[in-house]
């Protein structure tokens, strides 16, 4: 079998030279488009040496931005994880009319420009917004404050977990859940003991992507944050602030932290794909 495949491959494959050219072309393009920018971030960040790098990161405004980013992710990831599981449970384990339409609604935030996402919340909660006067009467600030940033982040990360889990749970079918029910388990026990262990790697994968987006979101957060230094700047916004002040080393230093996060995300993601491919719904975006 494998020998047959091998000869077949040779029989219809490209000549070795063509093959080599194609591989080099692909590698070259990837190096130019993807590796070069990544490399540039670290090169610029450390252009003035390690101690400048450390000092820039230790600036109070930057530390505040790091803290805010962590807070936002610490809210957005668990919330969207829980709702992602809830949505996947509804869609994968039950039948109802209009399911396809429902799935497209869940995917909607992916196709909306982040800037428009931010604008939505400004229109709802801003000073002239639908709930603006009620909020200001109760002295609650959403826009240009942390709640708005959290909302915008929740919006842009909304589909990640559900989108990973729905195909996975659909493919796993309902047999094991039904078996658990015939054995006397209630709904919660069935979920906790049977469904959750079967989806754990896919869930982790979805959470990883949610986290990467939550920490890195720029457009939606930028519109709603008001850019108040030390208060409503997340790390990506701090990158912009420093950059616009011509503090390039500072901007790239903060950017390098985010790039490090992206690399960690890629490593974990790749590890999950290698070790648990059968328990993932496939590389998601």
């Amino acid at each position: 079998m494998s020998r047959a495949q091998h000869t077949a491959r040779a029989a219809v494959g490209e000549p070795g030279a063509v093959r080599l050219v194609l591989i080099l072309l692909a590698l070259g393009w990837l190096a130019l488009v993807i590796l070069l920018p990544l490399f540039a971030v670290f090169a610029q960040a450390f252009a003035r040496g390690w101690s400048t790098y450390r000092d820039t990161i230790a600036q109070p405004d930057t530390l505040a931005a790091i803290r805010l980013t962590l807070i936002v992710a610490a809210i957005a990831v668990p919330v969207n994880t829980v709702f992602g599981i809830v949505m996947a449970w509804t869609i994968a384990k039950h039948d109802f009319r209009g399911k396809d339409f429902f799935v497209s609604l869940i995917d909607l935030p992916f196709s909306v420009s982040p800037v428009v996402a931010g604008l939505c919340f400004v229109l709802l909660f801003g000073r002239n917004g639908w709930f603006g006067s009620w909020l200001s009467a109760h002295d609650i600030q959403v826009v240009f404050a942390v709640p708005g940033i959290v909302l915008a982040t929740l919006f842009v990360t909304f589909p990640f977990v559900a989108r990973e889990l729905i195909p996975l749970m659909t493919a796993q079918g309902r047999d094991e859940e039904e078996a658990a029910l015939t054995l006397g388990a209630n709904g919660w026990q069935t979920f906790w003991h049977v469904t959750l262990p079967n989806i754990r790697w896919g869930l982790l994968y979805g959470m990883l992507l949610t986290n990467a987006r939550a920490m890195g979101e720029f457009g939606a957060v930028s519109v709603i944050s008001g850019h108040i230094r030390g208060q409503t700047n997340t790390m990506p916004l701090q990158v912009e602030v420093l950059y616009n002040e011509y503090n390039f080393t500072g901007a790239f230093a903060v950017a390098s932290l985010l790039a490090g996060l992206a690399l960690v995300t890629l490593v974990v993601k790749t590890a999950l794909e290698w070790r648990h491919r059968e328990q993932l719904a496939g590389a998601g975006h």
Binding site: E176, E178, A180, L181, T182, L183, G184, A185, N186, N198
Partner: protein
């Protein structure tokens, strides 16, 4: 426990799967549901179990109406066609699952659960495999684990959907005999679904022949052979 199926019907979208099916099954009987693929066997079994709801008709266990009773409370054991073993649990954890999810004072303690698992493993002739995962078992072994798991809570009714469908001929024969023995020893009332005439006739006390969502005949094998109730039955069993 007696099982009465009274005028059960079920339609999917526009397609009718069961048309007024009635069956009266005595306590301790071993019944085969026999019919061609798509005749409604799985649907009927799932309705008896409470895994699907009938559009009309009633199900009674021991004279009690269970039509509205949820699957967890029907006291049945169910063996799925593809076994549906919990793939992330060991054999022992699979078998003990029904006991682990019990609530309050009914729930046996750990030692009692372990004892029950050992008992069941001996019953299905699989001692020593408790630490394995389903993926590390052969088809026949999986089937036996599924059977042991279904029996853990001492159900009085055992329902099996094509229990030997995915097995080779030799293992099939062995398991048939084992299943019949267990049925007699435990004192179950069992219904198993099959599309294999020979298997139904070799194993069951009574055979219900299903075609297009209707019972064509419900009788002991000899009677079906000697006096088929319809042309369909005659063709199907010959």
């Amino acid at each position: 426990m007696t099982i009465s199926i009274e005028n059960v019907s079920k339609t999917f979208d526009t397609q009718s799967a069961l048309n007024g099916v009635s069956l009266a099954i005595e306590d301790g009987a071993f019944v085969a549901l026999l019919g061609p693929s798509g005749s409604g066997k799985t649907t009927l079994l799932r309705i008896i179990a409470g895994l699907a709801a009938a559009d009309g008709g009633r199900i009674l266990f021991g004279g009690e109406d269970v039509t509205e009773r949820p699957v967890q409370k029907r006291g049945i054991g169910f063996v799925f066609q593809q076994y549906a073993l919990f793939r992330h649990m060991t054999v022992a954890q699979n078998i003990a699952f029904g006991l682990t999810v019990m609530k309050g004072k009914d729930k046996p303690d750990r030692a009692a659960r372990d004892r029950r698992v050992q008992e069941l493993l001996e019953l299905v002739r699989l001692p020593g495999l408790e630490k394995r995962f389903p993926a590390q078992l052969s088809g026949g072994q999986r089937q036996r684990v599924a059977l042991a798991r279904a029996l853990a809570r001492n159900p009085s009714i055992l329902l099996l959907d094509e229990p030997f469908g995915a097995l080779d001929a030799k293992v099939r024969k062995e398991l048939r005999i084992a299943l019949r023995e267990i049925h007699d020893r435990v004192g179950l009332t069992s219904i198993f679904v099959t599309h294999d005439r020979e298997e139904a006739f070799a194993l069951a006390d009574k055979v219900a022949i299903l075609n297009l969502g209707k019972i064509e005949q419900f009788a002991p094998p000899q009677e079906i052979e000697s006096a088929p109730a319809s042309d369909f039955v005659r063709d199907f069993v010959s």
